[in-house]
Symmetry: C2
Subunit: 450 residues, 2 copies
Amino acid sequence: MDLIAPLDALFLLAESREHPMHVGSLQLFEPPEDAGPDYLREFRAALLADKTVRPTFSKRPATWLGAPQMAWTQDDDVDLDYHVQRSALPGPGHVDQLLDHASTLHSALLDRHRPMWELHFVEGLADGRFALYSKMHHALVDGVSAQRLMRRTLTTDPFATELMRPWNLPRKPGPPRPGKSRLGGLIDTVTSARSSTTALMRATRTGLVRQQLTLPFEAPRTLFNVPIGGARKCAVRSWSMDRVKQVKKATGATVNDVVLAMSAGALRAYLLERNALPDKPMIAMVPMSLREEDDVDSQGVKVAALLCNLGTDIADPLERLRVVSESTRRNKEVYRSLTPAQTLAMAGVMLSPMAAMLLPGFASVATPPFNIVISNVPGSRESLYWNGSRLDATYPLSIPLDGQAVNITLTSSGDNLDFGLVGCRRTLPDLHRLLDHLEDSLAALEDAAL
Amino acid sequence: MDLIAPLDALFLLAESREHPMHVGSLQLFEPPEDAGPDYLREFRAALLADKTVRPTFSKRPATWLGAPQMAWTQDDDVDLDYHVQRSALPGPGHVDQLLDHASTLHSALLDRHRPMWELHFVEGLADGRFALYSKMHHALVDGVSAQRLMRRTLTTDPFATELMRPWNLPRKPGPPRPGKSRLGGLIDTVTSARSSTTALMRATRTGLVRQQLTLPFEAPRTLFNVPIGGARKCAVRSWSMDRVKQVKKATGATVNDVVLAMSAGALRAYLLERNALPDKPMIAMVPMSLREEDDVDSQGVKVAALLCNLGTDIADPLERLRVVSESTRRNKEVYRSLTPAQTLAMAGVMLSPMAAMLLPGFASVATPPFNIVISNVPGSRESLYWNGSRLDATYPLSIPLDGQAVNITLTSSGDNLDFGLVGCRRTLPDLHRLLDHLEDSLAALEDAAL
């Protein structure tokens, strides 16, 4: 039995039927040309043939000192048949049915009596592709690490014969361990330096408060900043990376700035449509790397939770992009002015941006500290395959929270940027409208800049 | 805001992620001959066209005096699109895939932020039929009433043009109100007579303890009598009513006795297979009507929670049937010797046999008071239709509990007896084996009796 790290325990403690604390992803695959009708069934059977399960995929919460959030125990008899499931879409098998299905899967709590992860192979898409919905508890792995982990099942070789299983990946060579361990190390470092999670959070607040001083306003209350229910709506779409890069080139902004401005325009349109646009601009929390392009010091973790003025009060798309760029630039500066311990603490929070929201008292830092988390998770530009099937898209599905009823997470995949939106179903029954607004917002940037 | 009746509140209080407290049913329908590929989509759309929702289907738990289990509030904006869902089976769409799907649906908790019911239209069965999985929280409706309610959406007319919706059924004529209200009335009567749920339970215990005195042994501990996890396995199958009736005729037993003996034989075989058959016979709790065939007094509720010696220690099928018949007969006698208040209390428990298990202290009546609940819910022998689709089967899916890891509920439907078995997935990963044992057990009774 191992003790659960304090930050991870937080995700178990904070979880309730209204607040599932798992990260998900929805991937689309094109099966190989010679795939028969039993391809997926045989794929799953081949995966399940290896019953070796690594510790991350075989540990489950144990009750220790009366609390079920304190310790992990190893499950010696993992029921892979339960963890790897098949399902199908009802007709006509279009994206609407896929999103309904993903929303249902993403709403359900993971079973705490088992290792807290699930894979779902979804067939019945009209275009002949299949989907993989995967789900891991945030106490096991944060969103970035989950993404990396699923990446490691893939290969650039369409004809590879070796089949990788997420639950039994070969150990990575070399000293830099994957995200989760890094986070663990971080927590060790920070907690030994500052002696408690409270101290860690105090440092984080200092960082956020200092950034807020550079912003023109505190975050306004919007319809997104309300308590949430347990049901989810998911919406996903891909945009060509080339379109975003052309706006970047024409304006001198970064890719991330363009993505933020595109999101800001969509949020503005969504709120305008509902007569609910606040006078003051919305503030996003954006996990972001601080490393410069020419920074070769690969050892240090230089990631930060940046606050960004989204300029949602501004109608002109280029002016909005300028405000966003200015805001991210200035808050990166603030970041660099923090003490190393503060930077380290913030980095810990960046790896799990949700952790901050969960801490008692955090909500009182400011009212509210920010309106939305927009997260750009590193992806891969290569063509990738699993069992001969080509990966077409990877949509991250993250965690809405009380006061943060919608989350936007995106990742690069091949030549695309794949957006995954997750909202509280009650607060955003028409979440899919945001997809159209994202397209309109990017088109407006193109019109203005090109 | 209405207060929740004490017995109903119990089902909300007792619910946890390990113990979902909803009753379900899985129905199979044969679509009309002229049904096109869009039949189910149009069926659902037609259902959703009427947005009038009666109180039972629009109330949800409200937080009152700090407790979310005390009061109902009406939801004025029921999101029917959420409550009525479509899904599909992966290939090859056989009964295995259907049971996997039903098991997943039956494992998930209902959302307490909404009225606590769901309907799922399931397509993709290889034989062209479709399934309807329905689910209601036990705090809304008990299993018998849920069954009756779904029955009222059906008609004997295959060409009926009026479409009935479970959430907006016309009021029933005449004074006898449907099950739920009757239960409500019962509780009112009992609680006003005895002033508290505790008193009600005290009366129930008296009844159970008196019955236990007529049994040869107390219930032994078996592998079914363990704490349970949150995941479920469902297994369903139909048997011809004629086969059961022939055994009944040849032996002079009742249909219910034959069903109990059939179940007993299956449980015996399942335990034998695992070298886990106790020396002492298993005891079933069997909700049963006490009304004689010629009893025309339709006002009184004459149902009881009978304890039955299943004779699982006996190899000979006819001898086992004899023990079962003798046991049910003697315990009906005991029942008749109870005071009217005690009978009334027991009747309340019969309408929700699970309630007894949930009460603190109940488990200490005896160790354990019984091994399994086997419930025969009244069904219909007529051919029934919904939107022109013929009902082929109705499998009740009930609630396993701590100490009662498997539940057997059956109902008559057309010319069949439809069995629905629900087990804790961890305790009974191979629940489906019980289906084969049920068949073998009935065949053994036929061989011996005919």
